[in-house]
């Protein structure tokens, strides 16, 4: 019998969904997720202003979205470094699932959308 630490999950799609929906299962992160969809490339400071949340706490929440592969991050230098966010392929697929249509989480359509995106964006 394998040890717990060695045990590998067998269904990568479900694992992927668990990670993504664990990240989105928070009202602040869900608001940021919608905002990033509406304004692709939105800088970190603008998200903080729009959501009206202290930047330290927002940094944590944005870190969760990034670590879950829900958002893509770019760093640009405009005098000082700026972090910008946009939804990657996985984020867009999740957005469609949540806001545009209502497929069952086990439906073929929902599974197909997630199957088509890359494993981890960063």
């Amino acid at each position: 019998m394998k040890k717990l630490a060695d045990r590998e999950e067998t269904d990568p799609e479900v694992i992927d969904r668990l990670r993504a929906y664990t990240a989105l299962d928070n009202p602040i992160r869900l608001r940021a997720f919608r905002l990033i969809h509406e304004s692709p490339g939105v800088p970190f400071n603008q998200i903080a202003r729009r959501i009206r949340i202290e930047s330290g706490l927002l940094a944590y929440h944005m870190g969760v979205l990034k670590a879950a592969g829900v958002v893509d991050v770019t760093y640009e230098r405009e005098g000082r470094q700026v972090t910008s966010y946009r939804l990657g392929a996985r984020g867009e697929a999740l957005f469609s699932e949540l806001f545009r249509k209502r497929p069952s989480p086990t439906s073929k359509a929902a599974q197909g959308v997630l199957r088509s995106v890359a494993v981890r964006q960063h």
């Binding site: 040890k3 717990l4 630490a5 045990r7 590998e8 999950e9 269904d11 479900v14 694992i15 992927d16 969904r17 668990l18 990670r19 929906y21 664990t22 990240a23 989105l24 299962d25 928070n26 009202p27 869900l30 970190f44 400071n45 930047s55 330290g56 706490l57 940094a59 944590y60 929440h61 944005m62 870190g63 969760v64 990034k66 670590a67 879950a68 592969g69 991050v73 760093y75 470094q81 700026v82 972090t83 699932e97 949540l98 806001f99 545009r100 209502r102 989480p105 086990t106 981890r120 960063h122």
Partner: protein
Amino acid sequence: MRSPREGLSKGSTVRSVHRFRREAERRLQRSGLVIILLGSSGRGLDERRDVAHVLARRGIVALVPEDDFPVEIGPSVLEVDVLERSDVDLVFLSIESWGAATEFGQFSSNPRIAPKLRVLVRPEYHPVHSPPGSYLTDLYLTHLVRYGHVYPVDGGRQAPVPSAKALIPMLVERHREIKAFRPLNITK
């Protein structure tokens, strides 16, 4: 404002996200977790990245602040205030530098963070493996008695203890099983 055809209302979106998460948890028989990996830079940072990668493949959201935080915010901003108010499940702290030891002092004295803290120290500083001598080792002993979760790691040939890389996934895996099946047993 969105029409019903365009999307879900705010409340039902939150419920949908929660439902999708529960569905995935039910199928995997494990809970979703958010964890933070803190420690020193250099080799310690590489090790945390490796651990984060292993955990991600298991469906866990694992943050390495140096990689996942926006550049506008220094990793040291992950202070008591932020951890207190966040929904993080576990905070792993590898103590390999004085900076990490300072963080330990801050987190350990905060009753809202201390139960989530998992402290990793080398055996020569662990109070069970070596008698408490310094103030810091004494602080580890206090934390061990109050909360548990002070682990010796990376002993090499001299001490038969697991590496941090092996220990962290094992602890996380058991934590999510307990959270899934006996959530009331999780100390918050």
